[in-house]
């Protein structure tokens, strides 16, 4: 197990390096000019100086290596310093990845946006899982029943109907026609009293439910398939033959075994919490990471887009690794050598 973990970790390093290179190169090849949005009255030589001050004077390789250094060494050191209060080396003059649009460090921007995304999208994932697991279990246990028919139809709909449509339909119904829920997420809302808490709940219901439906559909169909696989196994018959209560058979024996693959599916889906909610954030005007990426792309803010995209890629690689390891821990039949 340890050797396997180590091997996978070592393998993740070149993967991430290649991905970072692809992302960096792709963005760097772009024909867009970051000074193009500046007023046309700026003389050409001043414009050139602005370009140099943005770090565009260096050759490609140097910029790539600098970015790697900033991303992998400087920023983690900064975070460590902030968390512990230590000072490591010359922290005042340490180079940081600076956003071209706002002239502030990219990591600070991301830290600003992170809570909204985590709160809304993370909550939707939790809600999705809480809906999906019981639905999947009941659908599998009562296969071909009316509940199962509805459950699978529901899963198919949640799987097929894009979030940008469900989101807009909910807005049309609950914000426009009924006027019950706000359609715009207000980040400045501070929860201080019961009223503000209720407002917070109200503005979170729609984005959370839209994403939860999409997540639940996927997890529920996995849960159902996994339960069906296990329900026909011999150990279930043995457990029933021993005279166990149906409840124990289902919820202790079958559920625990069926959850193993589902847990890995859940782990694999976590990176999409961060990157997959771009559309939902856009619909409900949640100013999270997804919206930051969109504004970065629209403003041709290369450092911001490079860093964000790479963080998404990093999360995917990390959670792939975690899913593999979790599978090995949960299922004693799997032995990595």
């Amino acid at each position: 197990m340890f050797a396997f973990t180590l091997r996978r970790l070592l393998y993740a390093v070149p993967t991430l390096l290649v991905i970072s290179f692809i992302i960096f190169a792709l963005l760097d090849l772009s024909p867009g000019d970051p000074t193009a949005n500046l007023p046309l009255t700026i003389p050409a030589d001043v414009r050139e100086q602005i370009r140099i001050s943005l770090g565009l004077g260096e050759p490609f390789v140097i910029r790539y290596l600098l970015w790697l250094q900033q991303f992998f060494i400087n920023e983690p050191l900064n975070i460590l310093e902030r968390m512990t209060g230590w000072t490591i080396g010359d922290s005042e003059n340490r180079m940081r990845v600076i956003s071209w649009q706002t002239r502030s460090p990219v990591v600070d921007l991301i830290a600003e946006r992170m809570p909204q995304t985590l709160w809304v999208v993370g909550m939707s994932y939790v809600v999705g899982i809480l809906i999906a697991i019981p639905v999947g279990v009941i659908c599998a246990y009562k296969q071909y029943s009316l509940f199962d028919q509805f459950g699978t139809l529901f899963a198919m709909i949640g799987f097929s109907v894009p979030t940008f449509f469900t989101g807009l339909v909910l807005i049309v119904i609950f914000s426009v026609n009924l006027g019950w829920l706000p359609s715009i997420y207000d980040t400045n809302l501070r929860v201080t009293s019961f009223e503000t808490f209720w407002l917070q709940v109200k503005q979170m219901i729609m984005p959370v439910m839209v994403l939860a439906l999409a997540n639940a559909a996927q997890i529920a169909s996995f849960m159902r398939a996994s339960m069906l696989d296990n329900l026909s196994q011999d150990y279930v018959r043995t457990a029933r033959a021993k005279g166990m209560k149906e409840r124990t058979v289902l919820l202790v024996h079958v559920l625990r075994n069926s959850l193993i693959p589902v847990v890995t599916v859940i782990a694999l889906g976590i990176p999409s919490i961060f990157s997959g909610a771009i559309i939902t954030e856009q619909i409900f005007r949640v100013n999270g990471l997804g919206q930051l990426l969109i504004t970065g792309i629209q403003g041709a803010d290369l450092p911001l887009v490079q860093t964000l995209t790479f963080i998404f890629a990093f999360l995917i690689v990390a959670f792939n690794l975690i899913a593999d390891l979790v599978y090995g821990i949960l299922d004693p039949r799997i032995r990595y050598e």
Binding site: L26, P162, I278, V305, L308, A313
Partner: protein, 306 residues
Amino acid sequence: MSDAAIPAPQAVDAPQRSLWGDVWRQFRMHRGAMVGMVIFGLILFAVIFGPALYGVDPQFIDPRARNALPSWAHPMGTDNIGRDIFAQILQGGRVSLAVGITAMLLALFLGTLIGVLAGYFRTLDGFLMRTTDLFLALPILPLLLVIIMLFRDTLRAMFGPETGIFLLIVFIIGITSWMQTARIVRGDVLALKEREFVLAAKSIGTPPSRIITRHILPNVLSPIMVSATLGVANAIITESALSFLGLGFPSDFPTWGRLLFDGANFMTLTPARVIWPGLAISLTVLSVNYIGDGLRDALDPRIRGR
């Protein structure tokens, strides 16, 4: 007793059965798949022949009927400059479906090629599968947005506004969605390669290219067909998502996603502008997914026997 003396009456009486006949029989049993097929057929028909039958120019601007609610003259109402929504949806469906199908074909071609090469030639396996893993680790939607943003203007200048963006979208959806097909095909090819008929073909000196086209490819057709349906659904959703974020086709070249994006700003005034394009996307994807579900059951010999 000679062999010729034994008649085979059952064989004469029994109806002719072929593999595809069996598949079709099983497919018809799947209610969802049949409904999906009918709906998808209707949508295809409407999109192909609809613009000609309906006869209203989707670009015709009628300034006296701006933001009209659904009526006999405009079954789905009009938009903020007075264009007919129904005509735009019929027209937009052409683009959406064309993107979906072309991108799926490209992804399928790439996936099958890489899967077969990786499965059949052991020397290529390691490299190709590492590449597949690498592509799977890329954050697709952010990358798609970035690529479109970067190369939109270049391609527009090269091929014109519509063809350029069409090629770009089809190309990037295609090259970012072949990985699952490649993995499934590789797995199947690895198993097939060890079978006797491949050994027999090899021992009579068939070159690898002939083995692949004559013996391997027909046998991996079923997983490819299933991933084709999933690919269409996925490509339509991705294209709509890109258009919805404002990074797809230009506004005067409607697709379902673009109509939804444009309609979202007017949804308090004319909710029909949001409902119909969204419904068109959802119904198409739902029906394609059901067809895929039915195909998977029909092509799986373990289920078909039952």
